[in-house]
């Protein structure tokens, strides 16, 4: 046991590879730099500075400091860097901290690499960093860049192994050939390799996962999304397409108000009642990664996929969600009215307001109720309030002092969708009308080329629903009531509008056409490649190979993999048979066959020429001379530097008359 440990230690410590050469260092540095650059964009600036400084400092340290103190200095700075990472991220686990540590490790490995073995380790680390990029984004651009980065790392490996400093393009070409040849088997494995439905550890959260609708809405909670152009989801419509005004995407419903913020509640409600009248619109939604389980669909979702559920508030959610990308089919009934009756408990919950909240709003609502107790007219009054009073829509409203709702309604009169929705819902409740806040997204951009709607995060929206007797829940969007003229310049009002289709022939369309085309590519990439999870794989198998199990598929994939390599080896063998040396050999044997039918075996040590001469020893001189000439040419071709075409020899051998059987019997006689 002890001996084993000693040998292991010796194996780990032994690095008998020669010292690293300058051109090798250049290749390693280039590979490491390209791998690290995209990551630095996501990490703190000081990390980038430290890493790049480590790269630049390498020649300086080598020259000015002796080896041992250099190593100590490097170790000290490395530990300092690791400590900073810990302080910044509160730990060393997790995506950002892990990436930061890896980048630091790469920088310092570059700094202290001395031998060829170190150089190899450096390049292999670069591969790891290339894949780390995918934790942040898997878009087409990032993927192509990663491909280029991997090619450069492979080229670095080729340059390290070469016998003399190679040209710049040589290793790159070699690497590109290697990677391209590996694409078909990789695609095969990609399709067939089984996926996990539940991760081993952690969750499948990605970068943008902190964007999303929350279960709580207070001042400014949606504001952070308001400027983001990140895609939230994309929707295709297989049959009917909705009108612009119907593009309300339903998310969490908030109905508990504490004076400042709206929250979801949990209660033991009866089953949801679905609308029965209206137009059913089918959707295929590709949802970008989000942390919550919300299943986004058109208002109101009625036909959900199997692993989703709908609750009393008509919120659709997934039973299990790992935070990753998903594609699902859903159908919704659009029409804007959900006919349902409320129990007394529900009524109370949906009209509840804290006693000390919004006193002025309560007074206003009470005034409306006194004027005309009809619910519909109260709703109209509220909307008129927003439309004709000087309310403004802005993304940067001033701070409200005191009660938030009252301050917005009567003092500042400036806000965005959540202010309007909140205030309106409070007014309704104050007037005794059950009301709740619905959050989600509104509108979208229509992509003509792919025929789908793209909804970005800045389209996050909050609106209201009120319950009217004999009707049910009706959607009211108070933000839409604000006069168009009073929208702050530069801010697009969140209308349920589709971007109008461009007129053809307009030159300025080219830019938007390119945008559309690019987004279409992105959409296809997302849907076909990135969202290829276990479900998608199962669907593919069911469609094309219905009687197979994943295990069988994996076995088939491995078999095909092995077959590819067997084929490659066989092809190589086949091409070797065509090599000049083998052809010469075959020609020699053919010559011997032509000279004598039954040939005595060759004595060990007898040269080719002697053997041939022995074969024709009893023949007539002309034939002997001919055979000799052929053997001479054979010798020159085989051992000399002659560049005569081998076909000359072929012709000469062919012209040699074959030995007759008669001669042999003569000889024996």
């Amino acid at each position: 046991m002890r001996r084993l440990l000693l040998r292991l230690r010796e194996f780990l410590r032994r690095d008998t590879s020669p010292a690293i050469r300058p051109h090798q260092l250049a290749w390693c540095g280039a590979a490491a730099l390209t791998a690290v650059l995209p990551l630095l964009l996501h990490l703190p600036w000081w990390l980038g500075v430290i890493t790049l400084a480590a790269g630049i400092a390498r020649p300086l340290i080598g020259r000015h400091l002796p080896a041992r103190s250099a190593r100590a200095v490097i170790a000290a700075i490395a530990m300092l860097g690791a400590g900073l990472v810990y302080m910044r991220y509160g730990g060393w686990l997790g995506r950002d901290a892990g990436a930061a540590l890896l980048v630091l490790m790469l920088g310092f490995k570059f700094l202290e690499s001395r031998s060829e073995g170190d150089a190899y380790t450096l390049v292999l680390l670069s591969y790891f960093l290339v894949v780390m990029n995918f934790f942040y984004s898997q878009s087409i651009v990032v993927t192509l860049y990663a491909g280029g980065s991997a090619t450069l790392s492979t080229a670095a490996l080729v340059a390290l192994t070469a016998s003399r400093p190679p040209t710049v393009l040589g290793p790159v070409r070699e690497a590109a050939v290697l990677l391209l040849q590996s694409l078909p088997p990789a695609l095969l494995l990609f399709l067939m390799f089984p996926r996990l439905s539940v991760p081993f550890w952690g969750t499948t959260q990605e970068a943008q996962a902190h964007f999303g609708l929350s279960e709580e809405m207070s001042a400014r909670s949606l504001g952070s999304l308001a400027r983001s152009d990140e895609v939230a989801f994309r929707v295709s419509f297989p049959r009917l397409r909705p009108a612009g005004a119907q593009l309300y995407w339903r998310g969490p419903v908030l109905w508990r108000f504490d004076g400042h913020s709206w929250r979801r509640g949990r209660a033991d409600w009866p089953q949801p009642e679905l609308p029965t009248q209206g137009v059913t619109i089918d959707q295929i939604v590709t949802l970008e990664p989000q942390p919550d389980r919300w299943l986004l669909a058109l208002d109101v979702p009625t036909g959900l996929p199997e692993d989703a559920m709908l609750n009393r508030q008509l919120e659709a959610s997934f039973r299990h969600h790992d935070g990753g990308r998903r594609t699902y089919q859903v159908s919704s009934m659009v029409g804007g009215i959900v006919p349902v009756s409320l129990s007394a408990e529900e009524w109370r919950a949906m009209t509840a307001l804290p006693a000390d909240a919004a006193p002025r709003a309560k007074t206003l609502a009470a005034g409306w109720k006194a004027e005309s107790p009809d619910d519909v007219s109260i709703v109209r009054q509220a909307l008129r309030q927003f439309a004709f009073q000087p309310y403004r829509y802005t993304l940067t409203p001033p701070e409200v002092k005191g009660d938030p709702v009252d301050g917005f309604l009567f003092d500042t009169r400036r806000g965005y969708c959540e202010h309007y929705a909140s205030a309106f819902t409070v007014l309704m409740r104050a007037a005794g009308i059950p009301a709740r806040v619905v959050t989600g997204y509104v509108g979208g951009e229509w992509n003509e080329q792919g025929e789908y709607v793209k909804v970005v995060q800045s389209r996050a929206h909050a609106w209201s629903e009120v319950w009217l007797r004999n009707r049910g829940w009706i959607r009211i969007d108070p933000t839409a009531a604000v006069s168009f003229a009073r929208v702050e310049p530069g801010v697009s009002r969140l209308d349920a509008d589709l971007v109008p289709v461009r007129r053809r022939g307009d030159l300025s369309d080219l830019g938007s056409w390119m945008d559309e085309a690019w987004d279409y590519m992105d959409y296809q990439w997302t849907r076909q490649v990135l969202a290829y999870d276990q479900e998608a794989q199962q669907r593919l198998f069911d469609r094309y190979m219905p009687y197979t199990t994943p295990a069988l598929m994996a076995a088939a994939a491995i078999a095909l993999f092995a077959a590819t390599y067997a084929l490659a080896i066989w092809l190589h063998q086949w091409s070797r048979r065509r090599s000049p040396q083998d052809r010469l050999q075959r020609l020699y044997l053919r010559l011997c066959r032509r000279l004598a039918r039954r040939r005595p075996p060759r004595v060990p040590g007898e040269t080719a020429r002697d053997y041939v001469l022995r074969l024709v020893a009893d023949d007539e001189p002309a034939r002997r001379a001919q055979a000799l000439a052929v053997v001479e040419l054979y010798y020159r071709l085989r051992y000399g530097r002659e560049t005569t075409d081998i076909t000359v020899l072929e012709r000469m051998v062919a012209q040699l008359p074959t030995a007759a059987l008669r001669r042999r019997s003569d000889r024996q006689a």
């Binding site: 008998t16 073995g117 190899y120 380790t121 292999l124 680390l125 591969y127 790891f128 894949v131 995918f134 934790f135 898997q138 990032v142 993927t143 990663a146 491909g147 991997a150 492979t154 490996l157 080729v158 192994t161 070469a162 016998s163 290697l178 040849q181 590996s182 694409l183 088997p185 990789a186 494995l189 990609f190 390799f193 996926r195 996990l196 991760p199 081993f200 952690g202 990605e206 790992d322 990753g324 490649v529 990135l530 969202a531 290829y532 993999f561 390599y565 490659a568 080896i569 070797r576 090599s579 000049p580 040396q581 010469l584 050999q585 020699y588 040269t607 080719a608 020429r609 002697d610 085989r638």
Partner: protein, 300 residues
Amino acid sequence: MGSPSSTPALRVRLLPSPAGWIFLAILAALLLCSLNYGLSVGFLLSFMLMAMAMNAGLRTWLNLRGLRATLMPAASPHAGGIASFPVRLENPARRLRHAVRLRYGAWSSLPEDLPPAAVLTMLVPVPAPKRGVLRSGGRLRLVSRYPLGLFEARLRLPAELSVLVYPRVSVQPFPPTAQQPAHADANQRPSDDGDYTGLRDYRPGDPIRHLSWKALARQGKAMTKQFTDAAAEQRWLDWAQCHAVDDEERLSLLCRGVLDLQSAGDRYGLKLPGLAIEPGSGVTHAERCLRALALHGSPA
């Protein structure tokens, strides 16, 4: 050498190199991460790297396959020096072989490229500290890690490295010995200072520069010219006349003597206890003497 049939196929063995093991570990980590976090593109890249590595392994194996290597006899070194064993590499294929190295024990050569149909000779250095027959064990291998350094292909050469090591050359010159008068001997070999005295039949071993070309052209027979010996000196390198500390030192002195006289072109003989070599000159004679010196005292 004239045999056109290829040498028996030497098996090329393929193993992962240390860098290859690290690559495997990284690949496993990548695959695990991609699987856990559902990174589709991570999968794709991991599979590509895996396929690429296997492709590279195939190429590494093919890089050495079919390569012919022959161990040639080495020139005898002197004790304390280094024996260089030439290995003749032949690339019979039509493709270029990259970064091929010879490895013997801890030593490995620089990587060399072998163009198609090229022949390259590499030297394997083996230290030769003692005189006598050097038989060096261990494995002589051709290795290559091209193209990616993740795999190592090895081709073992089934040959034994052995060479005769001559004694160390002494720094002191051999003390001058007594000269013996010339014998009027018909068997004497002609020397080259003096006057021309006539021709006699050529005997194998006669210097070529004494060959009479005119006689050859006229009569078709090889004849050597004879000259008078100006001062026929015959020197004897005598064991008994060496005054040295020990036997090895004596052998060193004698060795030095042989080399000096050889380069001067003189005739000399060697006297060792139990062995005497008649005087002669020429490279073959020198080798005989050195061989006797090298093998002195070793069991037959």
